[in-house]
Amino acid sequence: MADAYTSNEMMTIAAARAMRNEDVCFVGIGMPSAASNLARLTHAPDITLIYESGTIATKPDVLPLSIGDSELCETALTTVSVPEMFRYWLQGGRITVGFLGGAQIDKFANLNTTVIGPYDKPKVRLPGGGGAPEIATSCGEIFIIMAQGKRSFVDKLDFITSLGHGEGGDHRARLGLKTKGPTKLVTDLCIFQPDPVTREMIVTSIHPGVTREKIQENTGWPVRFADKVAETPTPTAKELETLRALHARTAAAHGKAA
């Protein structure tokens, strides 16, 4: 019997499980970074992790606070310039999985990390897209990790920072894209995957102890569930230990704000 775990840990672990040993992954900072490194430290030791600062095949011992911590460079196979990273490696089609988060998401997994409210008169100015607009379209497929809530899982985005499945259906193909777009959305409650035809994100796996009602309460659109919904396997002792040790090393390394 595994120890008790938090919904946040379940989310990170479920996302880590989606990564494959042979993947070349473009990693965003925060939860995508935690999940990717957990995958590397558990079932996917040979996974190639790439951060947009130019570090290729990096194996950080602690999670970076920024996308360009020295830890990433020191443990990388090689470090390239940022233009080279975006031109040769991302645009060149060398990345199998892009791993993103966001402030807002809609049912077609389009993401907003730019602004809440009108662009010219923002209620909240968010950091912006960074690498996401091109990660979303150039990587073979996209995994998204986000905690659910009515303010973040919304019916209509204030701004499309990066394309998911657009308006659904074959919208990506009509825009000339050959990449798959978001294939997995892992939350603290469940896992969504796109409907094969409409491309709406539908629930395919529910984390242990979570009800369908709770998922709906935390989603700003009417949630669709797959015909067969799985139960996400409980975190294993190894997954939990590895994740907690990673977070403990990270907290010790970054220090507490004085």
């Binding site: 947009e52 996308i67 940022v82 909240v124 897209g129 970054h254 220090g255």
Partner: protein
Amino acid sequence: MPRITTLAEAVSAHIHDGDTVAMEGFTHLIPHAAGHEIIRQQRKNLTLIRMTPDLIYDQMIGMGCAKKVVFSWGGNPGVGSLYRFRDAVEKAWPAPLEIEEHSHAAMANAYEAGAAGLPLAVFRGYIGADLPKVNPNIKFIQCPFTGETLAAVPAHRPDVAVIHAQKADRQGNVLIDGIAGVQKEVVLASKRSIVTVEEIVDDLKPGSFNAVVLPAWTVTAIAEVPGGAYPSYAQGYYARDNAFYKKWDEIARERDTFLAWMKANVLDQGPEIFAAHTRPLRVAAE
């Protein structure tokens, strides 16, 4: 050959009110000491280009140096908001701030195009994204060979590039080691450039035939400022002070705590205080 000078003289001679200034360093080697000097010399109406405005532009915006910011990701990495940047965008404090927003790919391509002497950068980008609707400097063109629609943005051609590097030699050749970001591109794209360095040495000792070296004749002015990237870092010299990046969240959240910090740590100080930060790597972790 670049003039090896003091930071105060370099800023005074080469950065003027109204200039377009690009201070780069992708998390690594951010020229914070130079940012402080620009604040002390009260430069105004600057157009500030930078992929990640980071603390350096948060400080310059909050102190009223900026008219416009051209950027692609305006947060405190791993921490949250840049509150001075947000206050300027959301509430026009201390002055209204014009923004021109891109993606990282666009910014990196725009620097590379500037270095290459081209008027524009062409790349596969912004597909299905809303930024082209709010930024008139994002346009789309058709490939004359394949017909593919591609994004185009103007090349960055700043008046002044400002970067921090590990070393310069006495002739003014500059060595950058570690995460090199867009620094080579920004210097080659700009009319003038200021480089602060950890140390000036007799022999650059690049360590590899392919090291990132800016030849002396591409650089306008060099100033030795040990610790000059702090709280960013200089690979091989000192680590990023992640705890300070977290602390900045509290300092910058309110206008009065921000102004008090700026007075005590910037206005009443000089570049020499940065030397205190050249502590050995990883002290914080041990």
